[in-house]
């Protein structure tokens, strides 16, 4: 490029955080290059389980086609991942050997699935569930296959649900006593378990994997620490993700749990930024899409020369887990606080609202999330709720009629 009038922005990673940034940033300000590790441009990772289940087609989870990038004068490189960062030289190195210089660098490398360090973890038939490639592999497994999904977090549950929908014989095992214990309280977690069982999935909690047994190099069964042996010619490991920060860590960029950024989302290297699941902000690492989008919006403004600060995202989980709407926000645990709980176990609905000092500080909604936004507003605006306390669990319509 012999002549440059605009500064160069390189974005490493083409996931949902990356795309949001590209949509928000003032395109005219930069020459933008985006480098995705996967062969496909950014897609909706949240819906992978839905694709696996056959509820959603691949086309439906695509966000922007290549023409969109081209139309905005962005260079999209896929299938040629970055292998090294050289912040001291303002350049990145791709697998193909190509080197790209930049004025500003954004790391949006996301996270990678964790494989349990147990014997047999790398056998054939032991998969993870993180990207489209994983989905394709899982889609190839025939119905009726005995499958064990390890991990009762969101990903594992979705994998189990998707596989069950495809007709596999699925057992979900989870180390902790409660499924999704980071997003749900024990009651909602119990309801989720009921919902999964109702869909034909066996759920074992407090189940710790000892090893995966093989026959002819292929997974055959899982052995638990308590001695139980579960036949499994498919094992899906969905025990969590870790920030994909090795590029940064080996390049002199400060990392902790993730790549450390300040309120401008800037790393310790000026002009190098990070966002999304690879970033750690104020000691907090988020594994959800909403904070990533918040960060993308802030960074886009900042890069565009507008004042912007990221001060953290109140964690709200809003998902459909195996078809059931689930929402949680703030401090939903309720220790040292007052808890209001409305529970219809048979109907599968549950609302738990946490009040401290006359204000709502958190909530878990299960099965019905109609009032989620109202609760979120009450929590984020710190609205005093004493006067509407009696109507609170019944939602906005009751509170406003009262």
């Amino acid at each position: 490029m012999p002549y440059r009038s605009r500064s160069r922005l390189v974005v490493v990673g083409n996931g949902m955080a990356s795309l949001k940034l590209l949509e928000e940033v003032e395109a005219g300000c930069f020459d933008i290059t985006v480098i995705g590790a996967e062969p496909e441009p950014a897609y909706n990772r949240v819906l992978l389980s839905s694709v696996l289940a056959g509820d959603t087609s691949l086309d439906d989870i695509r966000f922007r086609d290549r023409a969109w990038y081209a139309g905005r004068c962005m260079t999209l490189l896929t299938g040629d991942p970055v292998t090294a960062l050289r912040p001291a030289r303002n350049e990145v190195v791709l697998k193909s050997g190509q080197r790209l210089g930049y004025d500003r660098l954004v790391l949006a490398t996301g996270s990678e699935a964790i494989r349990l360090p147990v014997p047999g973890a790398n056998l054939a038939g032991v998969l993870t569930f993180r990207d489209l490639g994983d989905v394709s592999a899982l889609q190839a497994i025939p119905a009726g296959t005995a499958a064990v999904v390890i991990g009762g977090g969101l990903l594992g549950i979705e994998a189990a649900y998707g596989l069950a929908r495809r007709g596999l014989d699925v057992t979900l095992i989870h180390l902790m006593p409660h499924l999704m214990e980071r997003q749900l309280d024990p009651v909602a977690s119990g309801m989720l378990k009921d919902a999964l069982v109702a869909k034909g999935i066996r759920v074992l909690t407090e189940a710790s994997t000892e090893c995966i047994e093989a026959r002819d190099g292929h997974a055959e069964a899982i052995v638990l620490k308590d001695g139980r042996r579960l036949p499994a010619s498919l094992v899906v490991m969905a025990v969590g993700v870790r920030p994909a920060q090795s590029l940064a860590a080996t390049s002199g960029i400060d990392t902790g749990r993730g790549i450390k950024v300040d309120d401008k989302l800037e790393t310790n290297w000026p002009g190098v930024y990070a966002l999304g699941e690879c970033a750690e902000h104020r000691g907090q690492w988020y594994g959800l899409v909403e904070p990533a989008y918040d960060q993308a919006r802030v960074l886009a403004r900042y890069l565009s020369g507008l004042p912007a600060r990221y001060e953290g995202t109140l964690i709200a989980t809003s998902l459909k887990v195996s078809g059931v709407p689930v929402y949680s926000i703030g401090d939903f645990d309720g220790r040292d606080a007052e808890v209001i709980a409305l529970h219809d176990r048979a109907a599968g609905t549950y609302r738990k609202l946490v009040v401290r000092d006359g204000r709502m500080v958190g909530a878990v909604l299960f099965g019905d999330t109609a009032d989620a936004l109202w609760y979120r507003d009450l929590v984020t605006r710190r609205t005093p709720v004493e006067s509407l306390r009696a109507a609170l669990p019944f939602g906005r319509a009751y509170a406003e009629a009262a």
Partner: protein, 909 residues
């Protein structure tokens, strides 16, 4: 209306289109005519009888709901001996053998009968004859002792006979009606409505003398909230005023009375001036003067007195103090003018006619040698008793002492209704034989009975009753008897036969008994000597036969052979004293039997509420009637309450020297400071600790033997609980471990259910265990807000609501009205949790507390209509229907209109 078509129709179980049967309401002493049209399923449609002179077609809320009380689920259907169901033969043999054995061992005086103003005259007659004539025990008394005895004694002292001089029409002909100790709006609603209609049409004045402000006060021109127990002072003062201001009828006094001068002197001593009357009664001088001047300047005054006068240790004196003023002005027995006692019970007067009381022998005869001889000959009863027996309170004391060994209770519930009811309950446990003839399965009295005999209930009963204006009306059957239930007279006749008295009890129908009763009333009742003449004489009704009896029209006694029935008595003298002159009676100094003290600082008044009757064994069956007031309560002035730390809707423990009760607190400015009121209806069957009569002292009037139920020294204190709540359920639930509960029936939409009001004193942590032990199985929907003390649970089964529990740290809970309607409609799974909000998401359907029971109109709707422009009860009636049926709620509607308008004016200013 063709009377011929309305004579007795036999029950028609076949399901033909039934004709209405003319009968009489079984509740208060007004004695309203009822048209009952049986349906094909054991129930009946109830309407007022337009042809009955007492009510001309109107019925109060209780009467209107009679159809709700006919179901058999609480009926006693078989005889039960020592807890085992048995045949009539075995039960009757058992009763006869036990009575015989006890009489042989301890003498006839060891046997007693406790009867009821609910019994028909014919039943009463047979009981009285059996006891006094054949078993030879004088101990026959009745719950009328708790109700009417002081009026009876007062009448006898003044008139020489238990004869009410007036008739109901006088209420419409009067220019001044004085209500003394009467919450007629609630307790005699039809008479109150008659007064109010006349007041509206003719501008008649109404004065209300009552320490309490009640629903009755709404329709009065002057309310005199006197200090309890000072009625005589007021009336002595009135007598002095009448004498001093020239309002006396000297001719009537001199020709038809005796004792005036001495009584006036005594009255002057007790109440020398208006100022002193005002000071003693706690009234304003101007109010006293106004009342006196109205009374003195009006020639048509009717004084209506009821339990506030009667239920007093000086009740007889109070009655005579009132009658004195009528005698002094000659205002007696004249159209629109005279004293008119409002009787509590449907057949208190009929019971007295036959002599079914300890201090009467039979048919208005006492125990003189000549009277005894006459009755002995008439009955051919050699064992006839020699003298008076024990009156109610003394009777139960004799049981307590072990002197009375066998008691036969019929149609009443002394373990609940007598003063010191806990002591009465203990006494009943000492009996060798307790026989209870009843139509319900369980009462606090029945719980202690050795023998339970199933008696006919209203709708099955066949006989006569006499109301407050001496009017005899037929109670006619319109249903087949339930199970093995029998008429009381039949039951007693069978026992009599087994005791060897068959000849004297060979009755085969109530008509035969009535005939004997009528003959006795006329027997040797034509003596030339006035001293021997008896007021009660229905000899004109002898020989009417079964057909005449069946067709008997409501008629006022006396019905002497050859003369017309008398509407009024004594206008021209002719009193039943030896000299035919009425007596002025001096009254003793006014005082309460037990004064308040530092230890017992409150005066406890007990009484009734609008929609319940006695111990609720029948009215309690009607869900409609439970919509008005659902729990036992104490009314207390807000200042007293705040001093004691009692808040509206919390619980108070009332204590007296005799017992304790835990009831709901109701703040009321209608209650004088230092005075509290509690209704006596609740029992151990429907409340944890609502047996209010257990608090009432046993002080009795020395003349009438009537206990003072309106002034027991008491104290009260808050009851600390952690949670208040209610439990609605399709079937009755009685959880363990409640600090307080009261149960009533309720309508869940169109289906029957139960409301349990309750309080808990428990750890929030134990709440879920308690709920698990309490609530039925099914889909549970729960709301917990431990911080606010809120626990709510709804139980669904097959998409239908089974039960709803609401608990709160505060007594302010949502009304149950909307929730109850939710039992009727299937709820969709997704939305059903909002049941626990206790109200619909949009306003509007929430009625508020029900005011009009007949049309189920709540206070909120009435308030809204008032704000919408309805300024009178009539306009409310046109718009909402409220108050247009029985009218019992009109005073409350009036008050609601007034308070709503006042609030709206205040808001506007």
């Amino acid at each position: 209306m063709d009377d011929g078509s309305l004579s007795v129709a036999s029950p028609e179980p076949g399901g033909h289109v039934a004709r209405p049967v003319r009968t009489t309401c079984p509740y208060c002493g007004v004695g309203c005519g009822v048209l009952a049209t049986p349906d094909s399923s054991g129930g009946a449609t109830i309407k007022g009888d337009p042809a009955h002179p007492a009510n001309a077609g109107r019925l109060c809320s209780k009467g209107s709901a009679l159809g709700d009380t006919l179901a058999l689920d609480t009926r006693l259907l078989e005889p039960v001996v020592d807890g085992a169901r048995t045949t009539w033969n075995t039960a009757l043999d058992h009763v006869a053998q036990r009575l015989e054995a006890i009489r042989a061992a301890h003498g006839p005086g060891s046997i007693a009968f406790y009867l009821s103003g609910q019994l028909l005259t014919e039943d009463y007659y047979v009981a009285n004859k059996l006891a006094k004539g054949f078993l030879g025990t004088p101990h026959v008394d009745t719950n009328s002792r708790l109700c009417m005895a002081s009026s009876v004694a007062g009448h006898k002292r003044a008139f020489g006979a238990d004869a009410v001089p007036q008739c109901y029409d006088d209420l419409e002909l009067a220019d001044l009606v004085v209500l003394v100790g009467s919450n007629a709006a609630w307790c005699h609603p039809i008479l109150y409505q008659r007064i109010q209609v006349a007041r509206g049409e003719r501008g008649m004045r109404v004065v209300n003398i009552d320490p309490r402000q009640t629903a009755t006060s709404e329709g009065c021109d002057l309310n005199l909230a006197i200090r309890p127990g000072t009625d005589q002072v007021l009336y002595n003062g009135l007598l002095v005023w009448l004498a001093d201001r020239g309002h006396l009828d000297h001719e009537f006094v001199s020709r038809h009375t005796s004792g005036f001068d001495a009584v006036l002197a005594s009255a002057r001593e007790a109440a020398p001036s208006v100022r002193q009357v005002a000071a003693a009664t706690g009234l304003d001088v101007s109010d006293v003067e106004l009342f006196f001047s109205w009374f003195g300047s009006t020639r048509r005054v009717v004084s209506c007195y009821s339990q506030g006068v009667n239920q007093s240790a000086q009740g007889t004196d109070k009655v005579n103090a009132i009658i004195n003023c009528h005698l002094a002005t000659g205002m007696i027995g004249k159209p629109g003018s005279g004293p008119l006692s409002f009787t509590g019970q449907p057949n208190a007067m009929g019971g007295r006619e036959v002599g079914g009381l300890a201090n009467m022998l039979a048919a208005h005869m006492g125990f003189s040698d000549s009277e005894r001889d006459r009755v002995r000959r008439f009955w051919n009863a050699p064992a006839l008793v020699a003298s008076e027996g024990l009156k109610a309170v003394d009777m139960f004391e004799a049981i307590q002492r072990g002197e009375i060994k066998a008691l036969w209770v019929m149609g009443t519930n002394p373990a609940v209704s007598l003063p010191r009811a806990d002591r009465v309950r203990d006494a009943l446990r000492k009996l060798d034989l307790l026989v209870v003839s009843e139509n319900v399965m369980a009462t606090d009295t029945l719980d202690l009975a050795h023998v339970r005999l199933p008696a006919h209930a209203w709708g099955e009963k066949d006989g006569t009753v006499t109301n407050s204006e001496r009017r005899i009306s037929r109670q006619r059957p319109f249903l087949e008897a339930a199970g093995s239930a029998r008429a009381d007279w039949w039951i007693m006749g069978e026992v009599a036969r087994r005791l060897g008295f068959g000849t004297a009890f060979s009755f085969t129908s109530p008509a035969e008994i009535f005939d004997e009763h009528a003959r006795l009333s006329g027997f040797e009742n034509t003596a030339a000597s006035p001293a021997d003449r008896r007021a009660f004489d229905i000899s004109g009704l002898t020989g009417i036969g079964g057909g005449g009896y069946d067709a008997l029209e409501p008629v006022q006694w006396p019905v002497r052979t050859g003369s017309a029935p008398a509407e009024r008595l004594f206008a021209d003298g002719g009193f039943f004293t030896p000299d035919t002159r009425a007596r002025f009676i001096a009254t003793s100094p006014a005082r309460l039997a037990s004064p308040v003290s530092e230890q017992w600082p409150f005066v406890l008044n007990t009484g009734r509420i609008r929609d319940q009757w006695h111990t609720m064994t029948r009215t309690g069956l009607s869900p409609r009637l439970s919509t008005h007031i659902q729990e036992p309560f104490v009314e207390i002035h807000p200042e007293d309450a705040s001093r004691l730390g009692l808040e509206q809707g919390t619980l108070a423990r009332i204590e007296t020297a005799h017992g304790a009760a835990t009831v709901r607190v109701l703040l009321s400015r209608g209650q004088k400071p230092g005075n509290i009121f509690a209704p006596f209806h609740w029992s151990a069957q429907n409340s944890s600790s609502g047996r209010v009569s257990s608090l009432v002292h046993g002080a009795i009037d020395p003349v009438s033997g009537q206990p003072e139920a309106k002034a027991t020294p008491a104290r009260l204190a808050p009851v600390a609980v952690t949670h208040y709540g209610f439990l609605l359920s399709r079937t009755p639930l009685r959880p363990e471990g409640m600090a307080y509960w009261a149960e009533c029936r309720a309508l869940f939409g169109a289906t029957p259910g139960f409301t349990l009001h309750l309080a808990l004193d428990t750890d929030a942590a134990r709440m879920s265990d308690w709920q698990r032990a309490t609530l039925p199985d099914g889909d549970w929907i729960t709301l917990e807000d431990a911080g606010a003390g809120t626990f709510r649970t709804a139980v669904f089964r097959d998409s239908q609501l089974e039960a709803v529990l609401f608990l709160s740290a505060s007594p302010k809970l949502p009304a149950t009205d909307w929730l109850r309607t939710q039992f009727d409609s299937p709820c969709d799974l997704a939305g059903r949790r909002t049941i626990l909000a206790g109200k619909p998401v949009t306003g509007g359907a929430d009625e508020g507390p029900i005011v009009c029971v007949c049309y189920q109109v709540g206070s909120r709707r009435i308030e809204a209509a008032t704000l919408g422009g309805c300024a009178t009860t009539k306009e409310i009636g046109t718009k909402l229907g409220a108050g247009t049926n029985c009218g019992s709620c009109l005073p409350e509607i009036k008050r609601l209109i007034a308070s709503t308008m006042a609030a709206s004016r205040a808001a506007a200013e």
